[in-house]
Amino acid sequence: MKRIACALIALLLVLTGALPALAENGQVTYEGPAGDFVFAPGSEYSLTDLFPNFKDVMPGDSLTQKITVKNDASNQVKVKIYMRSLGAHPDSVDFLSQLRLRVAVAEGNDMAYMFDAAADQTAQLTDWVCLGTLYSGGVVDLDVTLDVPTTLTNEYSQQIGYLDWQFMVEEFPIEKTDPTPPKTGDASDLLPWAIALVAAAALFVVLLVFKRRKQVAEEQ
């Protein structure tokens, strides 16, 4: 029995450990108030790199990268989150101009691309674009697609392209008209756990009563 339990626990640990590795998303987390953005996962090229999937790309590749933008600030504020592109670094323009980059808010993928241009450009993200209003724990997902043309020649092999994005938040106080409770990242149902807790407590009490009665009977 112990072996089975150990095996199940080990399997659970392996699965929970493996899940994040399988889905390597970019993460933009706002840790306000008066806090900073935290960017993950980073890479050997940049600590704030949001593109883990866009490494070692080859001609003809069409790759996607999900980036989750999260408001991790307290419940007292809601934030509007904006982003814009500063474009490619000067020494990356030649390489990145060969690639096509598209960015969309992943609301069921039915939104038009808010950016669709060569990867070195700022294009539709030259000015701040609002990604949404987020309460504490709220997230907005971005789908980023990179298309590498089959015509990319040998001169562009082993290139490194740097591309800057900026994110900005505006904090607002929670208002009475705002929906309550604020949306959080945990939507699990607590009712089964509450029932289990009550049942366990009841069982505990019953056992105590039986034990006490037994003791009394033995003493008499």
């Binding site: 306000g32 593109f51 490494k55 080859m58 990145l96 082993q158 290139q159 900026q166």
Partner: protein
Amino acid sequence: MGKIKRILLTIALLAIVVTFTTQGTLAYYTTTGQATNVVTSGNIRFIVHETTDQGDEFPSEGVTVFPGAVVSKQVSFENDCEHPFYLRAKIVYSANDENLAAENCFKLDIDTQHWLLKDGWYYYNGIVEAGQTTPYLFTKAEVVGDAVNNSYIGKTLNLSVVAQALQSENNPLTGEDVTTAAGWPQE
């Protein structure tokens, strides 16, 4: 309290209310952060292995040969990157005396089961996966006695292998064999 005073007081109260209301809808804090994102491009690499039948590296300084001699020289190619590719190789002959022809001086045991000759190139008939090494293109070179006469005494003959790799990802064959793959460099 006069009528004018009451009006002024009302206006002042309204102004205070409006001010508080406005403050409630204005952002009271902003911050920015910057991410430097990186895109890198890959490449394809291979290693040419030239060994003897004893498993040693073929000597880079070459070997002394005589007409009719058979030299052990095993040539294969190893995929040294993360990407699969097609591969072709060409054998180039030369001599250190421009008056001497080198093309007909060697006879090679080409592995025609795995290598397909077309337009002077031997195409590996398959995909070389990451980390994989091809079968030998040839394993020995015989010095042709009829071609290597006294005029070759003291001369140097070169037998060089030139190879090219072409990515196979996103590059399906358009015909029956690898010679039809798109992207082989023009000569």
